[in-house]
Amino acid sequence: MDHQTKSPISRPPTKLEIGIDRLFRGLCFSFAWLTIAVMAYIVIEISWKAKPAVLEYGPGFLSGKTWDPNTGEYGILPEIWGTLYSSLLALLIGSVFGIAVAVFLSEGYLGNFVFRVLKLFGVQFHRFWGKMPSMAESALKNLVELLAAIPSVVYGLWGIFVVIPLMRDSCVWLHDNMGWFPLFGTRFQGPGMLPAAFVLAIMILPTISAISRDALVAVPPKLREASYGLGATRWETILSVILPTASGGIFGGIVLAFGRALGETMALAMLVGNMNTISVSLFSPANTLAALLANNFQEAGSDEMKVGVLMYAGMVLMAITLMVNIIGALILQRATAGLKGMR
C-alpha cells in the first residue's frame, strides 16, 4: 500500500522539518533569554529616567520631608515611613490569620467535620456523599484564594464605604479615652493608616496562607506520627513539631507577602489619606511610595525633572521590593530543598 510511505510519522525527518525544528528551538531559547532582558530593561529604564533627579537631589531626596512641585523641593521620607509602617502592620495582622488558616486547611478540620456529620447519617462511604469531605476542603481552599482575586480597586471602594464607617465609632472612643497612648495619638478622620493596613492585611492573607499551607503539607507524615506516638496532643504536635519543621517555608511566604504589601497601590491610594506626615498614630493620614506615584504621574507631563523625581521614587520602591522578593524567593528555595532531604 502506498499509504504507509506517505504517512507523516515513522520515517526520518526531512530537511525542512529539521530546519523548522532548529528555528523553533532557537525561538524558545531566545524568548527565555528575553525574560532576563525584559527584567534588566525594566531596571535600566527606570534608573535611566531617574538619573537627572538622582544627580540633582542626591541622597538628600531620601531624608527630605516635603514634596512641593511649585518650589521644586522633593523628599520621600514620609512615603518611605508610610510604606514600611503600613506593610508591617498589615503583615502583623495578615500573618497571624494567614498561618491560622493554613493550619486549619492542612489539618483537614473541615473534611473531618463533614465526615463526622455524614457518619451520623451512615453515608460516609456512599458513592456521592463520600466525596463531600474532600470537596468541602477544596471549596474552602478556593474561597481563601478568591480573596486574592478581587481587584485592589474594589477593595479600596469597599474600604471607603464599609470599613471606615465601621471603624469610626470605636476609633473615636479609643482616641478620646486612650489618647495618651502614641498609637491612638491623633483624631480619626476617616482615611488613615489603620483602615489602609487592615485592607492590606486582607489582600496579603491568601499569599501567606497558600505558601504556608504548602509548607505544612510538605512536612513528612512520619514526624507527625512519631509525635502522636509519643503521646502528644494535636496542638502539641503542631506547635513543637510541624510548625518548626515548616518554618522555613512559612517565613518565605511571609517575606513574599511583605514584598506584595510594599508594592500594593490602589487600595492604599484610596484609603491612606495621601498626606505627607510621619506619625506612629494608627489614625493619622499618611502616604506611601506607590500611592505617591499613582497620584502624581498623570500631571508630570513631559517635564524631565518632574518625571525624574517620580522615577527616582519608583526606583527606591523597586529597590526595596526587589530586595525583599529576592530574599523571599531564596528562603523558599532553601526551605523546599531542606525538606526534600528529610523524606
Binding site: D21, G98, P151, S152, V154, M266, M270, F297, V307, N325
Partner: protein
C-alpha cells in the same frame, strides 16, 4: 534488639491513667481550645470576601441596568449613563497584553521545562519570572510610561497593554512550565521513537496534552490583568468617549489615544461627590468582580478536571 523481659519498666496504675485522653487535663483542653481558635480565625478571614460580594450586589446590583453596558460615563450633572467604553477598553487592553504575553510566556515555558531543563540559563530565567511575579503593578506602569508613553508622546491603549503584559507574563510562564512538566515522559518518548523531531513532539504531543494547564495560567493571568488599575492610571489614562467612533473605519492608529478602563473608572468615580457617579462605581465593580471571579474559577476548574493522566 528487644530488651530482655526483666528490664521492661512496669506500668503502675497512675502511669496508665496518664496515657488516657481526658478532657480534664489542661493539655487536652488547650488543644481543643486552639482548634476552636483556628476554626474561628479561618471563618473570620472569609468574612471580608462575603462582605465585599454582598455589598457589591446590594449597592451595585440595585442600580445595574442593561443600558449601563452600551452608554458613556456620566458627567457630574448627568443622570444615567454607563460604562460601555470602559468595558470595551478593558477587553481591548487585556487582549493586547495577552497577544504579547501568551506566546512569549509559553515559548519561554517550553524552554524551561523541555529544551533547557536543567541548564543554568533556565534556573536564572525561572528566578527572573518568580521575581517578576512579585513585581509591584505600579512599577509596571512606571516602566510602560517611560518606555512607551514618553517615546510616543501619547497616553495610549498600547502603553496600557504593554504594562499589563508585564504582569501577565510570569503567571502564564510559570503555570505553563508546571503543566508541560506534568506530561508523562513516555508519551514524548513514544513520539520521538517514531522519528518525530523535538518540535513535532511538542506541537503534536506535549502542548496538546498540557493545554488545560496552560489555559489555566492564561485565564488566571487575564483575570489578574482585568482588575489591575495602577499600571493603567498613567499609561492608558481615561477617556469619556468611545475609542472607535465609527465601526466601519477602524484604523490601528485609533488605539493611539487615551483609553477608558473599568478599573480606572471605579477609581475615578469612587472619590466623586455626585451620587450617580458613586453608584456607577459600585455597578462597575460588580461587573468587574463577576468577570474576574468567573474567569478565575473557570481557569482553575480547567486544570483540576481534565489534567493529564500519568
Amino acid at each position: 534488639m528487644a530488651s530482655p523481659q526483666s528490664e521492661r519498666p512496669v506500668l503502675t496504675e497512675s502511669d496508665i491513667s496518664r496515657l488516657e485522653r481526658s478532657l480534664r487535663k489542661p493539655r487536652t483542653l488547650l488543644s481543643i481550645m486552639l482548634s476552636a481558635v483556628a476554626t474561628i480565625m479561618t471563618f473570620m478571614a472569609l468574612v471580608p470576601l462575603f462582605s465585599v460580594v454582598i455589598m457589591l450586589f446590594v449597592k451595585g446590583g440595585s442600580k445595574l441596568t442593561l443600558e449601563n453596558f452600551y452608554t458613556l460615563p456620566p458627567t457630574a450633572f448627568e443622570d444615567g449613563g454607563g460604562f460601555g467604553n470602559a468595558l470595551l477598553g478593558t477587553i481591548l487592553m487585556v487582549g493586547i497584553a495577552a497577544l504579547i504575553s501568551v506566546p512569549f510566556g509559553i515559548m519561554a515555558a517550553v524552554f524551561l521545562s523541555e529544551l533547557g531543563k536543567n541548564s543554568r540559563t533556565s534556573s536564572v530565567v525561572r528566578f527572573c519570572a518568580k521575581v517578576l511575579s512579585g513585581f509591584p503593578s505600579i512599577l509596571a506602569g512606571v516602566f510602560a510610561y517611560g518606555a512607551v508613553v514618553l517615546l510616543t508622546g501619547k497616553f495610549s491603549a498600547y502603553a496600557g497593554g504593554v504594562a499589563l503584559s508585564i504582569l501577565m507574563l510570569p503567571v502564564v510562564m510559570l503555570t505553563a512550565e508546571e503543566a508541560i512538566r506534568m506530561v508523562p515522559s513516555r508519551m514524548k518518548e513514544a513520539s520521538i521513537g517514531m522519528g518525530a523531531t523535538q518540535t513535532q513532539t511538542l506541537w503534536y504531543v506535549t502542548l496538546p496534552t498540557a493545554l488545560p494547564g496552560i489555559l489555566t495560567g492564561v485565564m488566571l493571568a487575564v483575570a489578574r490583568a482585568a482588575g489591575e488599575t495602577a499600571p493603567l492610571l498613567f499609561t492608558a489614562l481615561f477617556s469619556n468617549f468611545w475609542l472607535i467612533s465609527r465601526w466601519n473605519d477602524v484604523e490601528p492608529g485609533q488605539l493611539n489615544q487615551p483609553t477608558a478602563s473599568m478599573a480606572v473608572l471605579i477609581y475615578n468615580f469612587s472619590s466623586s461627590f455626585v451620587d450617580n457617579q458613586r453608584e456607577m462605581a459600585w455597578s462597575a465593580s460588580l461587573v468587574l468582580v463577576l468577570v474576574v471571579l468567573v474567569t478565575n474559577l473557570v481557569g482553575k476548574s480547567l486544570s483540576s478536571k481534565n489534567g493529564p493522566q500519568r
